[in-house]
Amino acid sequence: MDYLLTEQQVMMRDLARKIADEKIKPVAAHYDETEEFAWPIMKIIADSDLFGVYIPEQYGGLGGGVMDMCLITEEFSRACGGIALGYAGTGLGTFPILLYGSDEQKQRFLPDIAKGKRLAAFCITEAGAGSDAGSIKTTAVKDGDQYILNGTKQWITNAGEAEVYTVIAITDKTKGSRGASAFIVEKGAKGMEFGKKEKKMGIRASATREVIFTDCRVPAANLISKEGMGFIVAMKTLDNSRPGVAAQAVGIAQGALDHAVEYARTRVQFGAPISSFQAIQHMLADMGTQVEAARALAYATARMVDSGAKSISKESAMSKLFASDVAMKVANDAVQIFGGYGYMRDYPVEKYLRDAKITQIYEGTNQIQRNVIAGHMIKESLKKQP
C-alpha cells in the first residue's frame, strides 16, 4: 500500500528500518531473556536524531508530528516491541510538555529529549487507579514556590531509566477530576524513589517500575499549565499517544507476519512447503489484510491528529483498539503456523505474542477504548437530533 509519505518521511522510515534490522533484531532475544534496558540501542537511536522527529525545530527536533513518530515506532516494534517502548514511552512522557508546557518549560526540557540525551516517562496509573484514572491518590500540596508530592505511581514505563517524569497528582481533593494537576519531576529529586523492576510477560526489554514520592519537592515552575488542568493534560496526552500504541501494535503484527510467511515457505510437510496448503494461505491472507487495515487506520488517525483537529478521542481510541486486537490475532496465528516450533522460545514468534498482549491493555484497556468510542458515537447522534 502506498501511503503517500513525504520524501522526508520515507528517509526517516528507512533509517528506522535500518536500525531495526541491523541493530535491534540481532539483540531482541537477548534483551527479552535478560530483561535489561537496551541502553546501547537507545544511544544509537539518539545519534540517529530520531528521538526528535515529533519535536518542533525551535526546540532541537525535526519538526514532524505524530505520523512521523508512528512510522519510527512501527519499524522499531517490527524488530522488538519492548525496545521500541523505550522510544515510544519517551514520546508519551513528552506529550504533556509538548501540548501544554510553557515556552520556558519547552526550552528547558525538549532539546535534551530531542537529542535522546534524556528519556521521559508518563506517570498516571496507581494501584487503585487503572481504568478508573479519576481515582488517583497521589497529592501535590503547594508550599511557597514549591509543591510537595506524596504517593505511589505504578507500572510506569521507562521508570528508573528516564530523567524527565510528567506526573499527574491531586492538588484539590474537593474538585474530583478537576482537582488534578500535571507536574514535571526530574530524576534525582529528593523524595523520589523507584520500586523494583517488574517481571512481565512480554515487552521485557522495557523497564517498568513504581515511582514513589515521599515529601518530594518540585519547583512551582514545573507545574504544567495551571492547577486543575491535570486530567485534561492526561487525556489529551493519551489522545495523542494512542496512534503510537497502534503503530507499535502494527509493527509487532508485521514482524510476526514476516516470520510466518518466511517459515511457511520453507517448512516442508507431506512433501511440500506448508505455504502450498490453502489452509495456511488463507491464514496468511487474512493476517496480511488485517495488518494493512490496522496500519491504514493508524496512519489516518495520526494524520488527523497532526492536522490540528480538535476532537480526536474517538479516532485515536479506534486506532489503538483495532491495531492491538489485530496484533494479538496475527501474533497468535503466526505461532499457530509455526506449530510446535512456534511454542519454543528458540524461535522468534512466541515473543511477538507475549509482546502483542500489552497493547490491548495499556494506555487504556480495549474495553475503555470501546467506552470512549461508543460514548462519542452516542453524543454525535444526539447532536443530530432536531
Binding site: 545519534d47 540517529s48 536524531d49 530520531l50
Partner: protein, 260 residues
C-alpha cells in the same frame, strides 16, 4: 586537523562476477555500496574530527554514479565530497588509480591525515592506499587498528600484525589504511542524511587535477590482466579406516607415493 578519506564504490556482494571477455567486474544488476572496509575509515575520520576538530573530505575516483557513495559518506560524518571522474581514467589499475587520487589530493594541499580502508572488497589488492602515499611521498602505516595519540605534527598508532600489533610513531601528514578492528561504524543520522541530500559534490576531471595524460587509465596502467578466473573448489580428502596399525601402514605408503 584536516582529514581525507579515500573511498570506493563496489558491488554489494561477496560473490564478484567477472566478464571473461574483458576481464573486468560485472556491475550490472548488483547494488552499489561503499566498500565495507572504507566505512571504518569514514568512521575513524569522523571520530578524529570529534577528537581534534577540523574538516573531513571524502574523495573517490569512479563513474558519475559514485556520487551516491560520497553523499552517503557525508551522511556518516564527512563534511564534503570530491568525485574524481573522467573517461580518461577508464581501465586504471592500482598504479594509475593511486596516481590519479594522489594528483587530486595534491590539489587539496592542506591535509594532515589520509585514511583508507585496508583493501576493496571487489579487487582485494590493498595497493591503492600505499600507492597514494608513494605518489605523494608521505609516510604510510597499513593495517592500523588504533590511533593512540595524534597531534598537529605527529601520531602514534597500533598496526595489526599476525602475532599482535606494532606501535608506530610517525610524523604527519601520513596515510593510514585501517582494519575493521579499529571501530564500529555508526548509523547515519537523519540530520546527516538531510545534509548529504543537499550537499554539492565537487567534480574534478583529469584537467582539473593537472594529471599527466600518459599516466592515466588503461595507457597509464602497467598491469596487464592475462586471465582472471575463479579457482576450482577443492575436492574433499580421502579417509582411511580400519585398524590403527593397518591404517598407519597404508598412510605411510600413500605418503611415499606422493614423495613428500
Amino acid at each position: 586537523m584536516n582529514i581525507i578519506v579515500c573511498i570506493k564504490q563496489v558491488p554489494n556482494t561477496t560473490d564478484v562476477r567477472i566478464d571473461p571477455a574483458t576481464n573486468t567486474l560485472i556491475r550490472d544488476g548488483v547494488e552499489s555500496v561503499i566498500n565495507p572496509f572504507d566505512t571504518y575509515a569514514i568512521e575513524e575520520a569522523a571520530r578524529l574530527k570529534e577528537r581534534c576538530g577540523g574538516k573531513v573530505t571524502a574523495i573517490t575516483m569512479g563513474p558519475p554514479q559514485a556520487e551516491s557513495a560520497l553523499k552517503e559518506a557525508i551522511s556518516l560524518g564527512c563534511d564534503e565530497g570530491i568525485l574524481v571522474s573522467d573517461r580518461k581514467f577508464a581501465g586504471s589499475d592500482t598504479w594509475a588509480t593511486s596516481y590519479t587520487l594522489a594528483a587530486a589530493i595534491r590539489k587539496i594541499t592542506d591535509f594532515d591525515v589520509i585514511l583508507c580502508g585496508k583493501q576493496a572488497s571487489d579487487g582485494d589488492t590493498a595497493q591503492v592506499g600505499p600507492g597514494i602515499s608513494a605518489h605523494l611521498n608521505i609516510p604510510q602505516v597499513t593495517y592500523v587498528k588504533r590511533i593512540v595519540e595524534i597531534s598537529a605534527g605527529a601520531a602514534k598508532v597500533e598496526r595489526m600484525t599476525e602475532e599482535g600489533y606494532d606501535i608506530v610513531e610517525t610524523p604527519l601528514p601520513c596515510l593510514f589504511t585501517v582494519v575493521k578492528e579499529i571501530n564500529t561504524p555508526r548509523m547515519p543520522s537523519f540530520k546527516g542524511m538531510m545534509r548529504a541530500k543537499s550537499a554539492k559534490i565537487l567534480k574534478w576531471t583529469a584537467d582539473d587535477i593537472e594529471a599527466d595524460p600518459a599516466a592515466l587509465g588503461l595507457d597509464g596502467s602497467p598491469t596487464r590482466v592475462v586471465k582472471i578466473f575463479t579457482p576450482e573448489a577443492r575436492k574433499g580428502g580421502e579417509t582411511l579406516s580400519g585398524a590403527t596399525d593397518d591404517v598407519s601402514k597404508e598412510l605411510v605408503e600413500l605418503l611415499k607415493d606422493l614423495v613428500i
